[in-house]
Amino acid sequence: MAMAFHFHPLVASRVHFSPLPFAAATGAPSPSSSVAIAAHYHHHGRRRFSAIVATATTTEFNFKAYMEERAVAVNRALDAAIPAGGLPAALHDAMRYALLAGGKRVRPALCLAACAVVGGPESWAMPAAAAVEMVHTMSLVHDDLPCMDDDDLRRGKPTCHVVYGEPIAVLAGDALLSLSFHHMASVGSYPPAVDPEKHPARVVRAIGELARCIGSEGLVAGQVVDLEMTGTSQTVPLELLEYIHLHKTAALLEASVVIGAIIGGGTDEQIEALRKYARSIGLLFQVVDDILDVTKSSEELGKTAGKDLASDKTTYPKLLGLAKSREFAEKLVSDATEQLACFDEEKAAPLLHLANYIAHRQN
């Protein structure tokens, strides 16, 4: 489903989201920053913005610490899921190499935050959080192969196929995908306190969601279209660019949030609100990526400019212009934030900050 976005002068004038950093995101909160934030949002008289301020100032939510804690917990879970020393050694080593290569663990964090916002304990969603990171890693391992993106480096390290060879990389990707479902479906993956009556059906539903977002109606579909358009010299139309991004990136982000909410015991209404939130931030991720490509040097981004895929050659700034792209990004943040209005403010804080983090990151 492609999102149609039509510019209207009034929309631009109504949405003035200043990229002021949240106090929490920069570490220790300072009185002047808090005051500045409060002053800024009060000027617009928007209830939800007041809520954001209230959250930031009354609970001093520390986003940086939040992300670091979740990453540590997720890394521990991933390390345990593929024990060192398993056989065959080459396969286990390759899986661990790819999976434990670092990364911000944004998808797992979204999964855990979604579980919490609907009232579930985060521990209920940890197997699903690990699963989405396995899937994400699998897609990168296969994407990096010579017949696909043909990348030798990722996050500054040699890619899986460079270290272990193409055959092992193909198999490691397959094994990671299978493991994600195995891990989510295993009774032993979950804490004893899950609701014994409702939990199995929730996990079945979550597995259906995750699988759908990976396959021919999700991530893989985006990759196929991206590759299909590679050979053409023509510019990709906006609808197709959005199709690629909604499938290649947003689908797994959506799954991360949705399965967290399902396993946390969310209502259908809550799950759908979170799905919409996830789609907005998924698209936001790519719009910001494209903006950064224009405004930052290759060195700062940690990757090489001039890549080959359709989604690299056609960008939002190229289609819409830089100013309109920025407006679109602001619109997406606003849309995402709006979907969280029905949730408890304190519980929603991580998701609000994640949306803003995605919008204002520098790499």
Binding site: I82, G86, L87, P88, A90, L91, H92, M95, M138, H142, L145, C147, M148, G165, E166, P167, I168, V170, L171, A172, G173, D174, A175, L176, L177, S178, L179, S180, F181, H182, H183, M184, A185, S186, V187, P200, A201, V203, V204, R205, I207, G208, A211, R212, I214, G215, S216, E217, G218, V220, A221, Q223, V224, V225, L227, E228
Partner: protein
């Protein structure tokens, strides 16, 4: 190349040859089915003596159960279910074509039929088993697509047709395999729920299939297989050969049967007997493959006979001698059938016939 799969997926083979060495007398299938139905009904109502009499007749005569009709009817049902599932996908056309090309390429569907037979053995319905039956076939197909790729086995042909990567290109083949793997798990989750299978059973089936598709099965077997190909001729031990075949082939046969028994509501004891039966059946299939490669004609096999010997690959006849391999076949068949002893004779009939069919096939 997976010889067991090759034989399993033989398409359009003349029926007279299939059953030439297997003494099955044809009967009108409709009348036979009616008779079986009446027989089973009477079985439930009759006293022990009468039940014993009917059961003995059904098994010993060899004419009450029409295996050929059973196999073709179940295979057709699975094919139709796969076709329907793939038709329902909303995805890029080239991806859909690629998936359908390999999944709907024909074949006897022995693994899916095994899943259904195991489900019925423990008292479940065929409808409950169809989702896992389809999933097994998708996982199998995904592994073949990836196995054929240039960086793996590099096979340009499969069953006399161009391999998926030859027909559609390496990138699409890689992604089609990934999509089929994801779809398998989606189908177990959503399909089982749709068929009224309790969630906890569906999850156990996911665990079983998730293990076999990855480090506990196919991927591990493929890694070991590649490692053995580089080994000096004659250095692969019987233990190593068994490891490769158990993981690459037999584990999926086992998972098919176990998943069927699980969704059918089998107790732990029943499931474990089914597992052992399928383990022996899976190995039996591989030993038969190796023997046929030595003794069969190219015409019967649908490929060049003696290819494995010429390639210097480790095979059972090579390690055990032809006589020893044949003796092992007999041993495995006996062990498989022994697992069915003491169970309802009418329900075990499909599995007994399947084991004998496997042992006596000519290609």
């Amino acid at each position: 190349m997976n010889k067991l799969a090759s034989c399993f997926l033989q398409h359009g083979a003349p029926h007279t040859q299939i059953f030439k060495s297997y003494h099955v007398q044809r009967s009108p299938s409709l009348q036979l089915l009616e008779n079986r139905s009446v027989s089973m009904t009477r079985h439930r109502a009759a006293d022990r003596a009468a039940r014993g009499t009917i059961v003995d007749v059904a098994v010993d005569s060899g004419t009450s159960f029409d295996f050929e009709s059973y196999l073709s009817a179940k295979a057709r049902a699975v094919h139709d279910a796969l076709d329907l599932t793939l038709q329902g996908l909303r995805c890029p056309e080239v991806l859909s074509e690629s998936m359908r090309y390999s999944v709907l390429a024909g074949g006897k569907r022995l693994r899916p039929v095994l899943a259904i037979a195991a489900c019925e053995l423990v008292g479940g319905t065929a409808a409950a088993a169809v989702p896992v039956a389809c999933a097994v076939e998708m996982i199998h197909t995904a592994s073949l697509i990836h196995d054929d790729m240039p960086c793996m086995d590099d096979d340009a042909l499969r069953r006399g047709r161009p391999s998926n990567h030859v027909a559609f290109g390496e990138p699409t083949a890689l992604l089609a395999g990934d999509a089929l793997l994801a779809l398998a798990f989606e189908h177990v989750a959503r399909g089982s729920a749709g068929a009224g299978v309790p969630a906890d059973r569906a999850l156990r089936a996911v665990v079983e299939l998730g293990s076999v598709a990855g480090v506990g099965g196919i991927a591990a077997g493929q890694v070991a297989d590649m490692a053995s190909e580089g080994a000096p001729s004659g250095s692969v031990s019987l233990g190593a050969l068994e490891y490769i075949h158990v993981h690459k082939t037999a584990r999926l046969v086992e998972a098919a049967a176990v998943s069927g028994a699980v969704v059918g509501g089998g107790g732990d004891g029943e499931v474990e007997r089914v597992r052992r039966y399928a383990h022996f059946l899976g190995l039996l299939g591989q030993v038969v493959d190796d023997v046929l490669d030595v003794t069969g004609t190219s015409e019967q096999l649908g490929k060049t006979a003696g290819k494995d010997v010429a390639a210097g690959k480790a095979t059972y006849p090579r390690l055990m001698g032809l006589k020893g391999a044949r003796a092992y076949m007999g041993e495995l068949l006996a062990k498989a059938e022994a697992e069915l002893d003491g169970l309802d004779a009418a329900r075990t009939a499909p599995l007994r016939h399947l084991a004998r069919f496997m042992a006596h096939r000519q290609h």
